[in-house]
């Protein structure tokens, strides 16, 4: 529980705290409404093994806020709260560029800014000494995601087909920026973390967003360069969050250094848990896997129990599974279901798992 892709939306967390009779302890919410920090009492209650060290924003950096509640982060990406969710809004600062030289004119995160890793080395060391499995948190979105947030989805897709040199240049710039940030992050905590989390969604419910051939030609080299860098800075495992139906490229991800794959979204096409374990279980650790689209959203307590038992049975034998819901627990999920989820994990999650 925790990490921006296996955490919990604020409304559900508030209800959970009320249900458990716990006071608010100043927990933080991240830029898109997901709980960034969680009450350690809840984490212990749910037997969560991981703790995270989170990179800070630079000192003296102020988030830009606009009328209508729009917020802009360091990358120049804007979000707005619509209903429950913080959503990327259709603001595309690189939407009009014609030439790859114009990419440098965008305001990118300042790699020379101070304060991002202040105190993190001690924090990671203390968590490790206390016996927790320690991970970093995703810094922001993925290489593919940031590219289309800045350029506009349709435009970036058309770039991939008709102006691949522009699309590649944009993704290379994002990769360069991430390498600079991970250099600082892992320079501080690399010796004390067991997992480095990165996220980049490539899949939808029934298929990939782009053909595997396009992924391999233009995005895979960027991912490889970043993951090679991460592996050069730490012995920690590389965790990739990649939603949806992505089976066609899982071998590619393993090839370029992904050690832990999340969320292995169980209802996405081609992502059946048992099949994934059989095909990749000797080379990959799975993280997530518990269905939140139907089981947690619509299921009874008994059905949730069954769901957890099923995923444990599929993923856990022989090792290589980190139990988590397949994505952030959604705002409307009642506290009773969340408690049932983690109780079931405790019931079925002790080795030997049969």
């Amino acid at each position: 529980m925790g990490g921006s892709v296996a955490s919990i939306e604020r409304p559900a967390y508030v209800n959970l705290k009320k249900y458990l009779g716990l006071l608010w302890r100043g927990e933080k919410v991240d830029g898109i409404g997901i709980m960034e920090t969680l009450d350690d009492e809840i984490l212990r209650m749910f037997n969560v093994d991981f703790r995270r060290v989170i990179m800070k924003p630079p000192k003296n950096w102020i988030e830009k806020r606009y009328a209508d509640g729009i917020r802009e982060n360091e990358w120049g990406v804007r979000f707005k709260q619509i209903g429950y969710y913080w959503e990327w809004i259709w603001y595309t600062p690189l939407g009009d560029i014609e030439d790859k030289d114009q990419i440098e004119d965008h305001t990118w995160p300042d790699l020379g800014a101070l304060g991002r890793v202040e105190g993190l080395e001690k924090e990671a060391r203390d968590l490790e000494s206390a016996g927790w499995a320690v991970s970093t948190a995703p810094i922001f979105g993925g290489i593919f995601e940031i590219a289309w947030w800045l350029r506009g989805f349709n435009k970036f897709i058309v770039d991939l087909y008709t102006r691949p040199e522009l699309a590649s240049a944009l993704m290379e710039k994002i990769t360069d920026t991430y390498i600079g940030l991970y250099d600082q992050y892992l320079g501080a905590v690399g010796d004390h973390v067991q997992m480095v989390m990165f996220t980049d969604d490539l899949g939808a419910q029934t298929q990939m967003l782009v053909p595997p051939s396009l992924y391999r030609k233009y995005l895979k080299p960027c991912h490889k360069r970043l993951f090679d860098f991460i592996h050069s800075k730490t012995d920690a495992r590389v965790f990739l969050h990649c939603c949806g139906s992505i089976d066609p490229v899982i071998n590619d991800l393993i090839e370029i250094g992904v050690d832990v794959l999340n969320p292995v979204q169980p209802l996405a096409a081609g992502m059946e848990s048992e099949v994934l374990k059989r095909n990749y279980g000797d080379r990959l650790t799975f993280h997530g896997g518990v269905d939140i689209q139907r089981a947690l959203a619509l299921g009874t307590i008994q059905e949730i129990d069954y769901e957890v038992r099923r995923r444990m049975k599929a993923f856990a034998p022989g090792g290589g599974y980190i139990f988590a819901p397949a994505h952030n627990i959604q705002p409307e999920i009642p506290a009773e279901k969340i408690v049932a989820l983690y109780k079931a994990a405790e019931k079925y999650g002790c080795y030997p798992v049969t």
Partner: protein, 199 residues
Amino acid sequence: MEGAVAAVQHALDNGVPSREILKEGLSRGLEKVGTKFEAGECYISDLIMVGEVMKASVAVLRSHWKGEVAEILGTIVLGTVEGDIHDIGKSVFATLAENAGFNVIDVGVDVSAERFLEVVKGRGPNILGLSALVTTTMTRMNEVIETMERAGLRRKLRVIAGGAPITDDYAKQVGADAGVNDAIKGLEICKGWMKRVDA
């Protein structure tokens, strides 16, 4: 893209009627893409690219249509329901529908039932297209349809619901005429409705 535009221009230069190029050429190509998409051989990015190819090709035809009345299949008012700002699928559908001959009025995202009603009253469409991506907002579709019913407009148009979580069963439950989770299927349904209107 250049290949498609060149092929359209070549056909026009050789006297092929523009309507035939659209119906027998471009639309047939679109049907093939639809079949491939259903078979998992095409991806959403391919649909977006197909939309751009259609746009560029139809632009060539349109310049040839000056002075002629272009055939309009029908009018679709389209929007993403209130509380939801996802529009990738909606925008693919809008591009494909426009280039297939529909007049598409895209009301945008986070559209209230009242706003849908205002536009429907003003533009009198044949079809109302409602889009939603998340399970918490697809329930708004019911609100929009009930608003049309109260205004006495429901029977004057067809309603199609679209989006990743939408099924035909769900669509019928909320009072829509059809539900789809892919743009090409949605377009075929809309074309089918307009053919029955003409018959």
